[in-house]
Amino acid sequence: MDGAQRIPVLKVGRVLVVPIQVDMDDQMVISLQERILSELERTGARGVLIDITLLEMIDSFIGRMLSDIAAMARVMDARTVVVGMRPAVAITLVELGLELRGVETVLNVDEGIRLLRDELDGHDDEDEATLLGELNLFGESFNRA
């Protein structure tokens, strides 16, 4: 079985939520990237929220995946927010010289949802109210976990 299938790509309203909770080898990284992009295309999602709270390390390979996802999502008119980077991971990233270009990072899922809600606020869409409700629920359950 493809290991990356173990990483869920959840559609919540018009946002793809990707909680990374396993240690990924390179093949999983590549296949996760492909899945996120194909889900973006399939669903027309406007945002990607990647939760890396459980990632113990970001090396240049994973860092590049995050930058590439953000760049490709942008071309598809979607915004990418990475949440939950551990301080040790952030320090190491900077020392390694990785910039995560184009990736917005926030402290936790709550902040990420707030950011993506702002992004969606301007849209005249009947699903909007439902979406914000769902996202808030998701944030609450996530923060409890």
Partner: protein, 132 residues
């Protein structure tokens, strides 16, 4: 604590290497940030072995200096084709493999000691040390 040798032949070995290095670093009393630095270095340099040489190994050696300070030495060795232009490979942004060119210069910034030898005859050997 004893040295550990880890075969580096396939992509999943990169994950094994970084997890084993983190485990050792934790057992040696390195701070969480240092554990992350060492795991990241292991991931970068193990990937170089798997990607450019195809096979090699990582030797992880707990060490102590004359003042009794604990350290961890990581040796990555392979018998691959060697690095053609070592000086260029140590510069940020230089890559022959389509990567970001952060592996070697970035790893050097994460450790206290960094040595690299490479030749077409003998392959490549990278030795790094971080002290607690």
């Amino acid at each position: 604590m004893e040295s550990r040798s880890i075969a580096l032949e396939h992509e999943p070995d990169i994950v094994v290497a970084r997890n084993e290095v983190r485990r050792l670093a934790r057992a040696l009393g390195f701070s969480p940030t240092d554990q992350t630095r060492l795991a990241t270095v292991a991931s970068e340099l193990a990937r170089n072995v798997v990607k450019y040489a195809g096979h090699g190994r990582l030797i992880a050696q707990p060490i102590t200096d004359s003042d009794g300070r604990t350290g961890l030495r990581l040796i990555f060795e392979d018998t691959g084709p060697g690095i053609y232009d070592l000086a260029a490979a140590m510069r940020d942004g230089f890559s022959t493999g389509g990567g970001l060119g952060k592996g070697l210069p970035g790893s050097r910034r994460l450790v206290h000691e960094f040595q690299i030898e490479s030749s077409p005859e003998r392959g490549t050997r990278v030795s790094v040390v971080r002290w607690t």
